[in-house]
Amino acid sequence: MFINHKLNRTLLLMFAVLFTPDRPLKAESTEELTPREIALITAFGPWPIPVPADAGNEFSGLAWAEDLGEQLFHDKSLSGDSTLSCASCHNPGLGFSDGRTVAIGKRAHVRNTQSIINVGYNRWFGWDGGADSLWAASLRPILSEVEMQGSIPVIAARFRHSELIEVILRNTGAAEVGTDEQLLVTIGKLLGAYQRTLVSPQTDFDRFRDAVLSNNSIEQQRYPVAARRGLKLFFSNANCHVCHFGPGFTNGEFHDIGRPFFTTIGQVDSGRFDGIKRVISDPYNLTSDFNGTKRPADIRKTTTVKITQSNFGQWKTPTLRNLTKTAPYMHDGSLSTLREVVDSYAEIDPTRLHSQGESILKPQNWSDQDRLDLVRFLETLSH
C-alpha cells in the first residue's frame, strides 16, 4: 500500500509540475517568503509527527487491538438495530466523514460529522470536546439516542460469546472480559486504538515547507504561486495561523469565530460550554475507574479545565489537513465550500464577537484574487 501510495504521489507530482497552470517558471520576488514567514512555517511541520497514545487506553498502540478496532469500526452490531456502523457516518471513501451538512444517525443530528483522519492528535474529542479520550469519544455515538441507539446490555450480549472476545482474552491473558459495561468500554478502546492509526500523508505544503527549511529551491518552485500567495495571507495579520497552529493546523482548543449556533428557533447548541460539562460528568472520562493507564498528566487536563462564559458558542479548531475531502465545513456544516469559509472570515461581523472574544479576528479587505489564493493554499494541505 505504501509503495503504491508513493508511486501515486510521484505521478501526481509529475502531473502537477507539468500541467499546473499557476506553476512558476521561476520564483518571483513578490512571492518570496520573509524571514518571519519562514520562521512561522517552520512550526507547521514536519509531517507526520508521532501520534500520542490514546489517553487511558491500555490497548493503544497494540497491533492486535488496532486490527480488532478496525473490524469493529465496520460492525453494524454496535447500533441498536444493527443498521449503522461507525463507518456509516465516518465513511473512508468520504474522508472518514459523510459529506452531509449535519449527520443523520437514527435521528437527525445538529452537527456536521467530523472527519476522524488525524483524530489521534486531539486533546479533546468532538466539536465541543465532550470527551477526553478517543475511546470515550467512540462510546458516545454508540450509546447516543440520536446516533446509533445502542445499549450496554444489548451490545454486550451480542459480543460476549463472539470470536472477538476470544481474541481479546488470548492477547490480554485475562480470564474474562468483565461486566457488560466493561465489555463495552473494551470495545471503545479497541475502536480508539484503530482510529489512532488514521494519519494523513504528506502534502504539497509539507514538501514546500521542508524545501524551504532545506533551502531546496527546485522543490520550492514546485509549489504553486497562487498557493504561495495564499500562504502569505494565512500567516499574515489576518491571524489564521494563530488558532490553526502547528503541524496539525490546529491548537486543539476552542474558539468563537462568530458563527451562529442556533439549531432551530428557540434552541442553541452551546458548543464548548456544554462540552466541558459533559466531559466532567462523563462516566467514561479519564478520572473514572475505566482509565486503564492512570497517568496523572493525562488526567490533569480533565481536572483543571475551566468553564467560563466565553465557552458558550465556542467550537473546536478543526485541523485544516485533508480539508478538500471533508466538505461541508463548520460545526453545523453551514458552509459548503472552502471559498465560502474564506468569505465567512473576510466578512466576519465584529459585533458577534464579545469583547472577551478573539480580538484577533476582524474583517479582511481581501480581493477576489486574495480569496482564491487562500483557497488554493488550503487545498495544498490535502494530499
Binding site: G61, S200, V242, T304, G357, H383
Partner: protein, 409 residues
C-alpha cells in the same frame, strides 16, 4: 486491514507502534533512572567510617541519584562528616548510641542519655534515632526523656519499635512525630491501621524486601500506598559497612516497582513524603540551611528564572522552550520573610486578545517555610502563539500583590 488497501491513509510504522506499547506497559514515565530518591534510613557508623571514606559515601549517594538521605550513626562522627561534606545531601539524625551493640541497653543507660543531650547542645539534627524500643520499655525514664528532648528540639523520633511502643511514644507528647522504622516489620493491614489511627506517624520501608519483590507490588502493599499516599518513604538501612554499597542498588530496585504506581504516588514515596516530613524541620533547626534556602531564588535566577518582583523576591521559571498547546510545568519561587501564611498563584493571559488560558493549572507546594515558598504549577497550556503575560498573585495576610511579565510565544 483489507478495507483500506487502496486508501491513502498511512498506517503507523511498527516503530511508532512499539513506542506506544512501551507507553502502555510502563505505568508512569517518571520512574526512570532520573526519579530522585530520598533514603530515610542510612547509618554511617564507626566501623563503616573506617572502611569507606565519606567522599566515597557521597559518591555512592550521588550515583543513586539521592535527593537526600537521613543519616544517623553510632557514634555521631560519621553523620557529621557527611553533613560537612555534602550539606545539601544529608539530613542528620542523632542516634543515642556511642557504639554498635547498644541497641538493647541504651534505654537504661544514663551515659547514652548524657551523650545524646551533649550532642544536642552543640549540633543540629532533624531526628533522634534510629533507636530500638519495644513494648513497655517505651515508658521507661530514659525513653521518656528522649521524647521530651524531641519535643523541645523539634525532632522526629525515628523508632525501630513494635506498634505498642510507637503508641506509647506518641501518647507521651502530643507534639512529637514518629518515623516508624521498617514500618515495624508489620503487615500492610496493621501498618494501615496504625497510620489511620495516628496522624503524627510516618513509616519507612527499609529492609522490607517483600515490598516490590520481583519488580511488582502485591495488592496489599499497593493498597497501603494508595490508602496513605503521603505517609510512607524509602530507606536502605546500611546496618553493616558493606551495605553502604547497596544504596544505589536499593534506589534502582525501588524505581522498578515505583514505576507500577501512578506518577504522583510514586514521587511521594520516592522522595516527597520524606522531604515534606524532614526538610521543613531540618531547615528550621539549622540556620545554615536557612541561609541556603534564602539563596534558592538567586540560584533559580541564575538558572534561567525570571524575576518578576523584588519584594518579596519572586522568580518564575518556565521551560526554556514552550510549545503552543502542549502542557508544561512552571515553578514559582518566593524568598523573603514571614512567608508561612502566604500563597502564590500563577495565571497567563493574552492581553491583546482579552483572554487567558483554558485551564486552571494545579498548584503544588514543593517547599514552604518562613523564608521560602516553592510552588509547582502543573498543566499550564498556552494555546496560541503571540504575546502572553505571566500574572503572579502573591497573597499575604491583608495584602495582594500582582506581578506581570510579558513574553512572546
Amino acid at each position: 486491514m483489507s478495507h483500506f488497501a487502496n486508501s491513502v491513509i498511512v498506517k503507523l510504522t511498527r516503530v511508532a507502534v512499539l513506542t506506544a506499547i512501551t507507553q502502555v506497559t510502563v505505568t508512569n514515565a517518571i520512574a526512570s533512572d532520573t526519579l530522585p530518591i530520598a533514603d530515610a534510613h542510612v547509618h554511617y557508623s564507626h566501623d563503616s567510617v573506617e572502611m569507606t571514606p565519606p567522599q566515597r559515601v557521597i559518591e555512592l549517594m550521588r550515583a543513586a541519584n539521592l535527593k537526600f538521605a537521613l543519616v544517623s550513626s553510632s557514634d555521631d562522627r560519621g553523620t557529621q562528616l557527611l553533613t560537612e561534606l555534602a550539606p545539601e545531601l544529608i539530613i542528620p539524625g542523632l542516634r543515642p548510641y556511642r557504639r554498635r551493640g547498644e541497641l538493647n541497653t541504651w534505654y537504661t543507660d544514663e551515659k547514652a542519655l548524657a551523650y545524646t543531650e551533649r550532642l544536642l547542645k552543640t549540633n543540629r539534627y532533624a531526628s533522634i534515632g534510629e533507636f530500638h524500643l519495644y513494648g513497655d520499655t517505651a515508658d521507661l525514664p530514659i525513653p521518656k526523656r528522649i521524647v521530651e528532648l524531641a519535643a523541645q528540639h523539634n525532632l522526629v523520633l525515628h523508632a525501630h519499635s513494635d506498634a505498642e511502643a510507637v503508641e506509647k511514644l506518641l501518647a507521651q507528647n502530643s507534639a512529637v512525630k514518629v518515623l516508624w522504622a521498617h514500618a515495624g516489620f508489620d503487615d500492610p493491614a496493621t501498618i494501615s491501621d496504625m497510620l489511620s489511627k495516628h496522624d503524627r506517624l510516618w513509616a519507612d520501608l527499609a529492609f522490607r524486601s517483600e515490598v516490590g519483590s520481583g519488580g511488582s507490588l502485591s495488592p496489599e502493599w499497593a493498597a497501603l500506598f494508595h490508602e496513605h499516599p503521603q505517609r510512607l518513604m524509602l530507606g536502605t538501612d546500611t546496618y553493616t559497612p558493606e551495605r553502604m554499597y547497596f544504596v544505589p542498588e536499593h534506589a534502582a530496585g525501588a524505581r522498578t516497582w515505583l514505576a507500577t504506581l501512578p506518577e504522583e504516588l510514586a514521587e511521594n514515596i520516592a522522595w516527597k513524603n520524606a522531604y515534606n516530613l524532614l526538610m521543613p524541620i531540618w531547615k528550621e533547626n539549622n540556620a545554615a540551611i536557612q541561609t541556603e534556602t534564602e539563596n534558592q531564588c538567586t540560584k533559580a535566577l541564575q538558572d534561567n528564572g525570571i524575576s518578576i518582583n523584588d519584594s518579596p523576591i519572586t522568580i518564575v521559571k518556565a521551560p526554556e522552550r514552550i510549545e503552543v498547546s502542549e502542557p508544561f510545568t512552571v515553578q514559582i519561587q518566593v524568598c523573603g520573610n514571614n512567608l508561612l501564611d502566604n500563597t502564590v498563584t500563577l495565571n497567563a493571559i493574552m492581553p491583546a486578545h482579552g483572554h487567558g488560558m483554558n485551564y486552571a493549572p494545579d498548584h503544588l507546594i514543593v517547599d514552604h517555610t518562613q523564608n521560602y515558598l516553592n510552588v509547582e504549577v502543573k498543566g499550564v497550556l498556552l494555546h496560541m502563539p503571540g504575546t502572553w503575560q505571566w500574572l503572579v498573585e502573591h497573597r499575604s495576610p491583608g495584602n495582594l500583590t500582582t506581578s506581570k511579565y510579558d513574553f512572546t510565544l
